[in-house]
Subunit: 151 residues, 2 copies
Amino acid sequence: MQTPQEMAQALSRAGLRMTGPRRAVAEMLLERDGQFTAEELLAESRSRGLGIGRATIFRSLELLGRLNLVERIDLPSGEHAYLLCEPEHHHHVICSRCGRADAFAMEDRALPERLEQIARATGYRIDAHRLEVYGVCPDCQANAHPMGSDA
Amino acid sequence: MQTPQEMAQALSRAGLRMTGPRRAVAEMLLERDGQFTAEELLAESRSRGLGIGRATIFRSLELLGRLNLVERIDLPSGEHAYLLCEPEHHHHVICSRCGRADAFAMEDRALPERLEQIARATGYRIDAHRLEVYGVCPDCQANAHPMGSDA
DNA sequence: GTTTTTGCAAACCATTTGCAGGGTC
DNA sequence: GACCCTGCAAATGGTTTGCAAAAAC
């Protein structure tokens, strides 16, 4: 998703309505383009005086998830976060320091092949998969404590 | 993990103690070898009259996670489940019908390569990744409603 | 004997829900 | 004008925590 309009279109395609609160949520998301939690959005909504309730934040995120405009991911810590995405590619590298997330689509031939191998090896019929990659983004590497002090 | 002894060893290596409740948890896990939730273990502990408390179940699972003997996964639904694993290979196919999980180690050359590609393409330093594959296991395929009725 | 672990119950936290009022198509 | 959506606050459900008693080393 790049603009609130995209959300509006997706909503109307689904017979749903574009509303003030939903647009506000979309705008908050678009300003971030990294990962974010429901809590953060709620805080921002409050500090900006947008007057959007907790429930609406969660409901909007869930809706956006169903529309494939955001993806909900589970951090290794067990926390939930959401990130913007385009309906097509569905893998992300997530920075463990700052939370920035980048999608990678690349020539995604290897993974499907691998999944087929897995299917053959295990006998499962494969329906879905999730690949999440964690690391440190270029900016955080540059700003890292320079002496290798990892603490 | 194949036996409670493995847990005992890992514990003592870490300067921790093998106790009755921990052994009992280990035994419950070993009897399942698919995926399970903390809640299920608690229920089993109760129905067997083992007298192991909620807190101990959670604490043991967390501990086993740190020892790399179980892995905590997040189902697409957002629920948490745990599954036994060996410290080496860390990918699983999970059956969405019965919850069985199987590990696949196979010639795992493709994924590391791919991660390097991702690192190059995105500039991230990659530290960790999670790949979870969901599908229907052989048994459930065999026992599926035979007429293709997916309901 | 010292230190870790346990069980209980209460605390916690993120997320969900019921419902009456307000907004959208 | 009918139906969808929102906000609030209370309910929920899974997970964590404080503490005194019990177990392991």
